[in-house]
């Protein structure tokens, strides 16, 4: 499964969600499909996209929040899995694209290439719903099911270590940040 195909498959659902992505290929690929004001791309601070998603989900429990994470980032903040599990907001869906490598910096293999199991670690951390999928159809079905479940889910999608040739887009970080904040402000609880 290619990550960009997985993103395309669930893009109509993502458009209706608040989305926080990690840096690099995930950010560039989602933007290449189409940026939306509810999408925030954390271009650094590896590991903290899931913490940001948790902060948003706890603050705005009426909004569906999707974090698009990666194996390298999750491995940098394994403790964050236990924090998410502890508060387990039902409006948070934690997707991990696991390509078993640090693709954005040259493809160095991560520990998931030697057997570390992110879905297993998430389950052991106490995340109430976890799954690992390997095909687009499985991914789409699991994604839709997780969005509808109203239970914190970590969904690990095993993807190929392939990404776009460049990661820089024409959306400056601060423009993204302020647009995203304004978007969250505009989506009021009564209408969300």
């Amino acid at each position: 499964m290619l990550r960009i195909e997985a993103l395309r498959a669930v893009y109509p659902q993502l458009e209706r969600c608040v989305v926080v992505t990690i840096m690099g290929a995930v950010s560039a690929e989602l933007q290449s499909i189409g940026h939306r004001p509810g999408f925030f791309y954390l271009q650094h601070a590896m590991g903290l996209a899931s913490s940001m998603g948790l902060g948003i989900a706890l603050t705005r429990p009426e909004l569906p929040v999707v974090v698009l994470d990666g194996d390298g980032s999750v491995l940098m903040n394994l403790g964050g899995l236990t924090t998410m599990a502890r508060y387990r907001p039902g409006n948070l869906l934690h997707v991990v694209f696991d390509n078993e490598s640090l693709l954005s910096v040259g493809g160095f293999p991560t520990a998931t290439s030697t057997g570390s199991d992110i879905a297993g670690m998430a389950a052991a951390a106490g995340i109430p719903r976890t799954a690992e999928v390997r095909t687009i159809d499985q991914f789409t079905a699991a994604f839709d099911e997780a969005l509808g479940a109203g239970v914190l889910t970590t969904l690990v999608a095993k993807v190929e270590a392939k990404g776009p040739p460049v990661f820089l887009t024409d959306l400056p970080m601060l423009e993204n940040r302020f647009q995203f904040q304004r978007h969250l402000r505009s989506v009021r609880p009564s209408t969300g």
Partner: protein, 170 residues
């Protein structure tokens, strides 16, 4: 335990008066009452962390989603949060109100706390983070309010050092 309940309450009330509705925390001795107060308060969202750097992400998410937050940590937790402070809070102009228990200052009896003391202020300065000390009950409410105001107007991290003379009753 001679951690001051009275002064902890003063700090907590000042945070509430600033409109703080979410507190992230990693326990340490001087913070126990503050964390309990947040836990007992139905109006407060308390997020207990595994590591302090997560708190930068939590506060960033809370800020963008419209909530005022504060971070309770030991100075060693501040040391452990530096990348998040630089590459999330500073990079993306996120206000952080960091309340840092200042271990390892004059009067410190625990040998293992002594290296962090001398590193804390030089690191705050190196990171260009405005900070002030909380070492007297008379200025607690005022300084917390001013620090929170600057964090929100500058969209940057600020720090308050919770000092021994305020937190500890000998």
């Amino acid at each position: 335990m001679p951690v001051s309940v009275k002064h902890s309450q003063l700090i907590y009330d000042a945070l509430k008066a600033c409109g703080v509705t979410l507190v992230s925390a990693l326990p340490e001795t001087w913070l126990v009452h503050l964390i309990r107060m947040a836990d007992d308060d139905p109006e407060m969202t308390l997020v207990r962390l595994a590591k302090e750097e997560e708190g930068v992400g939590i506060s960033a998410g809370a800020h963008l989603a419209g909530a005022k937050s504060a971070m309770l940590m030991q100075n060693h937790g501040f040391l452990a949060s530096v990348n998040g402070i630089v590459s999330l809070a500073r990079l993306y102009r996120i206000p952080l109100l960091m309340l840092i228990s200042y271990r390892g200052e004059f009067g410190e009896r625990d040998p293992w706390q002594t290296e962090g003391g001398g590193t804390t202020e030089p690191l705050l300065q190196a990171l260009d983070i405005p900070y002030d000390r909380l070492d007297d009950p008379g200025h607690v409410a005022h300084r917390i309010r001013k620090a929170q105001t600057l964090a929100e107007s500058s969209l940057k991290p600020v720090a308050l050092l919770l000092c021994r003379d305020l937190m500890w009753e000998e």
